[in-house]
């Protein structure tokens, strides 16, 4: 078995003395792990940093085997971010969430394109908005899509201020009044595409998506949501 694909490095774990088991999010083969021989050597470690875009070639005798990767670096998205705490935390969080949440070997090109776009955008000023949109996209692809298009109770399209933690649908302010302690605030930038998020709104957005990630995607996972996601929230708090 052999294939070539483009992938994003999600993680690399040392295996034995010189090798590493690397997990990639590939364009056509989904989240896929493989052995990189010599992956623990200093010369290769730069290629195996999370968030790197690589050209990958995977080989194995049988398809169910772990197989071995040979990797060539295309772009290091992380390097320009090393001195920027926020974007670096977003990169680490996105890679950790993808690694922990996505099923193995299930191709899903929108997920790959979404992560690739997010990593490209982390050098831009508006990266926080893209990050939250990416998490919403991830939730949607995993079957927990949130709907902010209209009020879940009345169908009205204006005055949407909250999200129901049960249905994941927006709730208008008038309907939410008696229950608003139990609802999650909906930051305006998530319904108005032109609005730029302020820090408190960004925190609200991360709490909103974090709630659904924690209670739906990672509820059954030992250890819950990856710590990297919490560290991103801490940056805005």
């Amino acid at each position: 078995m052999e294939w070539s694909d483009t992938g994003i490095v999600l993680s690399a774990k040392k295996h034995g003395e010189t090798s590493a088991i690397v997990t990639l999010l590939t364009k056509h083969h989904g989240r896929h792990a493989g052995l990189v021989r010599g992956g623990s050597r200093k010369r290769i470690q730069g290629i195996l940093q999370p968030g790197n875009l690589v050209d990958a070639r995977w080989r194995a005798r049988l398809i169910e085997h772990l197989g071995a990767f040979s990797l060539d670096l295309v772009t290091s998205y992380g390097t320009p971010l090393l001195l920027s705490p926020g974007p670096l935390a977003a990169l680490t969080s996105a890679c950790a969430l993808s690694e922990a949440a996505l099923p193995e070997r299930q191709p899903n090109q929108p997920i790959f394109d979404g992560l690739n776009f997010l990593l490209q955008s982390l050098i831009e000023e508006y990266w926080p908005k893209i990050y939250v949109k990416w998490e919403l996209g991830l939730l949607s692809e995993l079957g927990f899509g949130l709907d902010f298009s209209k009020c879940g109770a009345t169908g009205q399209k204006s005055d949407l201020k909250y999200v129901s933690p049960k249905s994941g649908r927006a709730v208008s302010e008038s309907v939410a009044e008696p229950y608003k302690d139990r609802l999650l605030p909906l930051p305006p930038f998530l319904i108005d595409s032109d609005a730029a998020p302020k820090t408190p709104e960004m925190l609200q957005a991360l709490i909103l998506t974090g709630y659904f990630l924690e209670n739906h995607v990672f509820a059954q996972r030992p250890g819950g949501m990856p710590n990297a996601r919490q560290r991103l929230t801490d940056i805005f708090s």
């Binding site: 470690q45 940093q49 320009p80 090393l82 935390a89 990297a228």
Partner: protein, 199 residues
């Protein structure tokens, strides 16, 4: 010594870095041939070190004294703490003999998937040390990797209330390095960190 015991020795030696089963067999044979001159002193030294070695309760360094020789040396600059990932990094800085301050060994980096958190890395202890009045600067000498720098940013945030300057190591072209052989990331970091040239 029966064959099984020699096999056990080979299995243990093969666990050392750089040694596979074949080289472990060679080492075992060498030790068996030089029992008096090598095997006895080596086994004695290993036993002595095993009983004497301690982790420094202040900085996390490995030494036979507690606190370690670095922490108890009052000729060293007590106002600077250099934060490193591992004892190996501390040794590297000590080999250079350029740094004369104190250290703090984290014992790793924050890891997204392995669940390594601030408590496992002795970060609360570092915050406590950095808050002492005599500490003027904390140098974050973590590796130039995604995990290393994420850890550095996290520590910098934790130290925001401490009354000390927080600095990080420079990244860029190594001494003796040629631009042609550098990766794009290192080149970019070097360009971003350029300095005026004296004349």
């Amino acid at each position: 010594m029966s064959k099984t015991e020699i096999d056990d020795l080979i299995i243990l030696l093969a666990k050392l870095p750089g040694l596979g089963p074949r080289s472990a067999r060679r080492v075992a044979l060498h030790l068996l041939r030089k029992r008096e001159s090598l095997m006895i002193p080596l086994s004695q030294k290993l036993s002595d070190i095993m009983n004497a070695i301690k982790t420094c309760p202040i900085c996390g360094n490995l030494d036979t004294d507690s606190p370690c020789n670095i922490c108890s040396d009052f000729r060293r600059d007590q106002s600077i703490i250099c934060v490193v990932e591992d004892v190996g990094d501390l040794w590297a800085l000590e080999r250079s003999a350029l740094y004369k301050g104190l250290y703090h060994v984290l014992g790793g980096t924050l890891s997204a998937l392995d669940g390594i958190g601030p408590d496992e890395l002795h970060i609360p202890k570092l915050v406590e040390r950095a808050s002492q009045i005599e500490v003027k600067e904390v140098i974050l000498a973590t590796n130039a990797t995604i995990d290393g720098q994420s850890t550095a940013h996290y520590i910098a945030k934790q130290l925001a209330d401490a009354n000390s300057n927080i600095s990080g190591l420079a990244h860029g072209v190594p001494i003796g390095g040629e631009l042609d052989y550098l990766d794009d990331g290192t080149l970019l970091t070097a360009l971003n960190g350029r300095k005026p040239v004296a004349y």
